[in-house]
């Protein structure tokens, strides 16, 4: 069960964009975006969610959060993502720091394991 993950809806692009924007605007958290819906994406989300438990303060507060975007194609959502990705292609994983700046990515096809994901989290936690 994913306790620290926001699963962005695939069917409602406007809602998806709003939810992602709200997550970005939330203060005092670092975000890990996972893109895609294949097995690797599912595994990645699972690992990232578990890694969030390290900093879990309460049911309502954690300084780490995972955003799972299964479909990043809709233009409204892409607009929000462009605010930190720019014109770069959508990676497999991306991490934002407390100030909503992109601190690291794992590209599509890149090797993913819990160590690499944790490294992204801690990079995002540096201020």
């Amino acid at each position: 069960m994913l306790k620290n993950t926001l699963i962005v809806p695939e069917t409602d692009a406007r809602l998806a964009a709003r939810l992602v924007q709200e997550a970005i605007d939330t203060l005092d958290i670092v975000l890990m975006f996972v893109f895609g819906k294949d097995d690797q994406a599912k595994q990645t989300v699972e690992w990232a969610d578990q890694l969030c438990n390290k900093t879990r303060i309460s049911d309502t507060f954690n300084i780490r959060k995972v955003i799972w975007i299964r479909n990043a194609a809709p233009a409204t959502l892409r607009t929000v993502l462009n605010s930190f990705l720019g014109d770069k292609p959508v990676p497999r994983v991306a991490a934002l720091n407390f100030h909503d700046q992109l601190k690291g990515t794992i590209p599509e096809g890149g090797e993913i394991d819990p160590i690499k994901l944790e490294m992204l989290f801690v990079e995002a936690q540096k201020t």
């Binding site: 900093t55 300084i63 819990p114 160590i115 944790e118 801690v122 936690q125 540096k126 201020t127």
Partner: protein, 620 residues
């Protein structure tokens, strides 16, 4: 560990850790930990730990690290050994994960405080401060964690690729939990590698650890039991009595010492002059003996003999070579004795006395050994001269015979030793290190896989002990050999000072110099008198200068006086003030029989000895 960790051992230990002349240098503080309640101070050279008088002290060894250091110092493990490098690498990485775990706890606490402030709708300034605090904690944690993660994720091919891959796989699973889980995985790997190194050291050489403890103070030293390291019996538990009226042995010794010092003072002798005269006498005697023996000629002859013998590879001559070399070394002791330079006037009394004792002891030992060694060599030379007339010259046999006759017992030197020891006893000087090393029944523990070297010291069972007494724990690292003489490859010791906090009363003995107040006894001025006092002191935690240096005392003193001839027994009762751990005394009282008031100053000779000795307790 239940107790708060305190690193020691082994200035434990002037833990410091030192090594003997031949010893390799081992850094004991890396693998010996002294643990006792309350304080937590790192083990550093020459440091003294304060321990409360009824405490227990755990002495914990990190056996794998010790074994590894030992292996390196003994040449059993190469410094560039890949296994060693791997251990060091993993220890380094583990350190980052342990610290990251600690910092993560701090981060969560800071985040929790921020969350509370948000829920309480705190004002913006409070929120901003909490936010800054949380971000700072996050940064500290992330910096430490990132370094550890990068290292474990890096290619450490120079070590062992396959092992690294297996380890990384374990870490990948562990990282999903706590950082401590990762550290545990790495520690498990380190333990495995350490075991391998311990096996190598164990196979390479059998090494034993000897640990001894003793208590010193009030002019006496006594060995203490260390579990598993000696056959000393465990004493009965005796809690420290804050109001002690019965006379302990220390007070008896103080009274005896005061009595003897009084006699010495009355005779007009001065301690320093006595000791210095003794050292001068040693030098004179040594010079006389050296001249009689013609040591330098004898040494030259023996060296030539050893060289001649070495030139022939005959097995029967090799023993002779060793005997000749041994004699050369023995004679060197005498040569050195003739070069004794008296310690300067600024040298401490304890240094002068202990130097004198060591020098006289050395000469006496030489004199005891010399005749037998010379005679054995002469007999062997006579036996082999027929077979090897080309390497053994008859002149050397004659020279040795003459030397043998010259080495008779020297009563003058024995007399000097007695005089110096008298002074030594009055002041309570004894050589603790030497005493502990000679403790009977010492048990060596072998360094090896699965062998624990841990032990503990129960002060409650340590018998008579007083605030300010010193506990010394020594460690010797000794290879197991068939040789008669123990070869110490490393050694160290750590000092602990016994403390009592709060008020306590103890009986003390001293020598007072009493001055009657009225002119009726004008002929008497500061006459020596032995006194028994019950002195109250207060110890304060964390006030080292007060406890160690000033330590004033106030109490009641009874003294045996002699103001007039018509009373055989004159008792003085007075109020006393002492300073410097009952070293110096001041007081005012009344002679009950002579009905006369008096003032006095005084000294406790054993406290004086303790004070002087303090700077002398150093690594052996």
């Amino acid at each position: 560990m239940k107790l708060i960790k305190i690193l020691i051992m082994t200035n434990l230990l002037c833990l410091a850790m030192t090594s003997s002349t031949q010893a390799q240098r081992l850094n004991f503080q890396e693998f010996v930990t002294f643990q006792f309640a309350e304080t937590d101070r790192p083990f550093q050279d020459a440091q003294v730990y304060d321990v409360q008088i009824d405490q227990s002290i755990s002495i914990d060894w990190n056996e794998p690290v010790f074994s590894r250091q030992l292996g390196i110092s003994r040449g059993l493990i190469a410094k560039d050994e890949p296994l060693l490098q791997r251990i060091q690498f993993l220890e380094n990485v583990t350190g980052y994960f342990f610290r990251a775990q600690q910092l993560l706890v701090e981060l969560k606490a800071a985040a929790s405080r921020l969350e509370s402030a948000k829920l309480a709708n705190s004002d913006s300034e409070i929120l901003e401060n909490r936010r800054k605090s949380m971000l700072a904690a996050s940064n500290r944690f992330a910096t430490e964690a990132a370094t550890g993660l990068e290292l474990i994720d890096s290619d450490t091919a120079q070590i062992e690729q396959a092992a690294d891959k297996a380890l990384r796989d374990k870490v990948k699973q562990a990282i999903l939990g706590d950082y401590k889980d990762v550290a545990d995985v790495l520690t498990e790997e380190i333990d495995k590698l350490n075991e391998e190194l311990m096996r190598r050291v164990e196979q390479g050489e059998s090494i034993q650890i000897f640990m001894e403890a003793w208590i010193t103070g009030g002019g006496a030293e006594r060995p203490l039991h260390l579990d598993g390291y000696d056959k000393l019996s465990t004493g009965r538990p005796t809690p420290f009595q804050r109001f002690q009226l019965a006379l302990p042995e220390r007070t008896t010794r103080e009274l005896e010492s005061a009595q003897r010092l009084g006699e010495l003072v009355t005779d007009g002798d001065e301690i320093l002059a006595e000791v210095k005269a003794a050292i001068a006498a040693i030098k004179e005697e040594s010079e006389a003996l050296s001249q009689t023996l013609r040591v330098e000629v004898l040494q030259a002859n023996l060296k030539q003999l050893a060289q001649n013998l070495r030139g022939r590879s005959e097995e029967s001559l090799s023993t002779l070579t060793n005997q000749a070399t041994d004699l050369v070394n023995l004679l060197q002791t005498l040569v050195q004795a003739t070069k004794i330079t008296q310690s300067k006037d600024t040298a401490s009394v304890s240094q002068l006395i202990n130097d004198a004792i060591a020098q006289v002891d050395g000469i006496l030992r030489t004199l005891r050994l010399l005749p037998g060694r010379i005679e054995t060599l002469v007999a062997d030379l006579e036996r082999l001269i027929i077979e090897f007339p080309d390497v053994i010259e008859s002149e050397i046999i004659q020279v040795l015979r003459n030397a043998s006759e010259a080495t008779r017992e020297r009563p003058e030197i024995q007399g000097i030793l007695t005089r110096v020891r008298d002074v030594q006893e009055i002041l309570g000087f004894t050589n603790g290190v030497a005493k502990a090393a000679s403790t009977a029944g010492a048990i060596g523990r072998n360094v090896g896989l699965g062998n624990s070297l841990d032990t503990s010291l129960q002060l409650l069972n340590a018998g008579e002990r007083h605030p300010g007494d010193m506990i010394i724990v020594s460690i010797r690292v000794v290879p197991e050999t068939n040789a008669d003489e123990e070869i110490v490859i490393a050694q160290a010791h750590q000092r602990f000072k016994l403390r009592v906090f709060g008020f306590y009363v103890e009986p003390r003995g001293s020598l007072l110099f009493v001055d009657p107040e009225s002119n009726e006894f004008a002929s008497q001025s500061f006459e020596p008198a032995v006194a028994l006092s019950f002195m109250g002191h207060v110890g304060f935690k964390g006030f080292g200068i007060w406890n160690d240096f000033f330590d004033p005392g106030v109490g009641l003193t009874f003294s045996f006086l002699d103001f007039e001839d018509k009373h055989d027994f004159e008792l003085g009762i007075s109020g006393s003030f002492t300073i410097f751990r009952d070293l110096l005394w001041l007081g005012y009282g009344r002679n009950l029989q002579a009905k006369e008031n008096f003032v006095y100053v005084g000294v406790n000779p054993l406290a004086f000895g303790d004070l002087l000795k303090k700077s002398n307790i150093s690594a052996p």
